[in-house]
């Protein structure tokens, strides 16, 4: 059973077709890219998977379960986590809290437990705390645990956002342009980080990215979309030589 199965996915916004008959299958432990020109519908696909939008047509299955009709937090609870095109960390809460809150679905205690500070509450809070600290430590963020995101360099914020996504303990990690806004040193770090996450946590990573260096270095498979529809699918070598892809990005070379 594939981890993620998307079939005939279509999403219209009034007269605009943002996603057009999109199909993909992702298995375990893959590292795949989704690329395409600006406005191609890439983030819309992610938003559809997250449950932020509902498909106009088609279906999305995660581990065999149909995700249509699920609210975003329910989709996340199934094991899908993501980062956003512009970093969406909670700006008035420190890094540690940002990581803790993403574990909400695993909270495991009731409001009453919370008021009475029962053993159930204490155990689950400790578990949340432990996971948060372990993750921060593993990703080299222990020193900034009590910092507010806006006081951190952009590259570190991006790392925090990825850490937050990982605290969900996902089986599928969606990264939306993780290298956007990073300088070349940070991009190198990002490549190392993504590789490390992929190997350590054995998670499937699907990333939207414009920086070809990142894509070509990391990904074993690349899917290209334009105007909401797939125009190519293959290995990095295949995609680099694909005329349709080149045309989509650079325009027609025949005058």
């Amino acid at each position: 059973m594939p981890l993620l199965e998307i079939n005939a996915l279509t999403r219209r916004f009034g007269g605009l077709i943002a996603v057009n008959d999109f199909n993909i299958e992702l298995g375990d432990h893959e590292l795949v890219a989704l690329i395409g020109p600006n406005g191609a519908g890439k983030t819309t696909v992610f938003n559809l998977i997250s449950g932020f939008y509902k498909p106009s047509e088609g279906y999305i299955r995660f581990n065999g379960q149909d995700t249509r009709g699920l609210r975003p937090h329910q989709v996340t609870a199934l094991g899908v986590a993501r980062t956003f095109q512009g970093i969406r960390l909670w700006s008035e809460m420190h890094v540690l809290d940002n990581i803790r809150i993403a574990q909400h679905y695993r909270m495991g205690y009731s409001l009453l437990d919370c008021f009475l500070r029962t053993k159930n509450y204490m155990q689950h809070e400790k578990a949340i705390d432990d996971i948060a600290w372990k993750l921060l430590d593993a990703m080299g963020l222990k020193d900034v645990a009590y910092e507010l995101p806006r006081n951190l360099p952009y590259g570190v914020q991006r790392r925090v956002e990825i850490a937050r996504a990982m605290s969900v303990k996902p089986k599928l990690l969606l990264l939306d342009e993780p290298a956007a806004g990073l300088n070349s040193a940070d991009v190198e770090d990002l490549i190392k980080l993504v590789k490390w996450i992929h190997e350590t946590f054995r998670v499937t990573i699907w990333m939207i990215e414009h920086q070809m260096k990142v894509v070509m270095t990391l990904c074993s498979r690349i899917k290209v979309i334009d105007f909401g529809a797939t125009i190519a699918d293959g290995t990095p070598e295949e995609i680099q030589k694909n005329h349709t892809v080149i045309k989509a990005y650079l325009g027609d070379d025949t005058i």
Binding site: S50, G51, F52, R71, P72, H73, T76, A77, A81, R82, F84, R88, L89, W90, S91, E92, M93, D97, R100, I101, A102, Q103, H104, Y105, R106, M107, Y109, L111, C114, F115, R117, Y121, E125, I128, R164, A165, V168
Partner: protein, 337 residues
């Protein structure tokens, strides 16, 4: 060890106040100011949960206070008091110790359910639209009670003093003062436990980025429900205490002016700060008394103060910090974040 000291200290302080009241060192006026202070603390901290932590704009807190006031009053009057319409008391006054907290709880529960009126729309809308809904809800509650002759309509409802008298007849202590102090402590304790937990932290997460919260596994509808119902329920508790402190209620005391008063306290103290709301409530109560000589001008000066606050320190006295952030040594005595 030090945390226990803090708890013991608080209770000792409360016992001291009660003792001073009993010994008539504190005059009835002082006692009533203290009681209004407690009620205001409950109101401010409960509204702070919604308007501060969650960043909503609820303008109708008075309505929930009203629900709690009336429900608890009807219960105690039914049980312990003679009333023209409701009849003779059902229980002996000595059982007031059991009946009163029960009545308060029922009032709070009713107010909590009333909070659904605001909670459910909040799933889909925010900001200005929610402001209107809370406004309208406040008016609707008052309008409804104005039309209920059985509980006095616009003329008000009384008979609640029988409850305190009943308690006094068993043991002569300043019972309403004690109940208000307990209620205030309970509220702050409850809210503190909520906002320091991961569950409670979902509230500011929704405020700061609701979409991110939703996608990062926070069940936003559930959290909103909890926050609104907790807030309105505690407002109901405040209402119940208020009604029994005065021994009389009428719908007008819970209208938009009351809601505005509570908002003044919240914004003065700083949104998202529990200690801020508490301090602001205390200061506000004192201010109201100190400015009593101004009569009508009081309600010109107080809005002006808030306007000036908005101009020069809009984040309020505490911003979104707590006392322990400003005075780190206090952390020894109680942990907060």
């Amino acid at each position: 060890m030090q945390k226990k000291t803090f708890t013991i200290g608080i209770f000792a302080f409360m016992a001291l106040i009660a003792g001073l009241a009993q010994a008539d060192i504190l005059s009835p006026y002082h006692i009533s100011v203290l009681m209004f202070m407690g009620v205001n603390v409950i109101l401010a901290t409960s509204l702070n949960l919604v308007n501060g932590y969650m960043g909503e704009f609820s303008c109708g807190h008075g309505g929930f206070m009203c629900v709690g006031a009336y429900v608890s009053s009807v219960v105690t009057v039914l049980l312990f008091s003679k009333n023209q319409i409701l009849g003779a008391p059902l229980l002996p006054a000595s059982l007031a110790f059991l009946g009163f907290p029960l009545a308060l709880l029922l009032g709070a529960a009713a107010a909590s359910v009333a909070g659904l009126v605001v909670a459910i729309p909040s799933f889909k809308t925010r900001g200005d639209y929610l402001a209107i809904i809370t406004l309208a809800a406040n008016y609707i509650v008052i309008s409804a009670i104005n039309n209920m002759e059985i509980i006095g309509g616009p003329r008000g409802f009384m008979g609640m003093s029988a409850t305190e008298n009943g308690m006094k007849s068993v043991v002569d202590l300043p019972w309403m003062l004690i109940w208000v102090m307990l209620g205030t402590l309970f509220t702050v304790w409850l809210l503190r436990r909520f906002v320091t937990s991961t569950l409670g932290k979902g509230v500011p997460a929704i405020c700061q980025d609701e979409i991110a919260a939703e996608i990062m596994s926070v069940d936003t509808n559930r959290i909103k429900l909890i926050a609104f119902m907790l807030s309105s329920g505690l407002a109901g508790l405040a209402g119940g205490l208020y009604a029994h402190v005065l021994g009389y209620v009428n719908p007008q005391s819970f209208d938009i002016m009351r809601s505005t008063e509570v908002m003044v306290m919240v914004y003065m103290g700083g949104m998202g700060s529990l200690s801020g709301a508490t301090i602001a409530a205390v200061v506000y109560t004192v201010l109201m008394e100190a400015l009593r000589f101004l009569d009508v001008w009081k309600w010109v000066v107080i809005p002006l103060l808030l306007i000036l606050l908005m101009q020069f320190r809009p984040e309020g006295v505490m911003g979104n910090k707590e006392l322990a952030d400003l005075f780190p040594r206090l952390r020894k005595y109680y942990s907060f974040k």
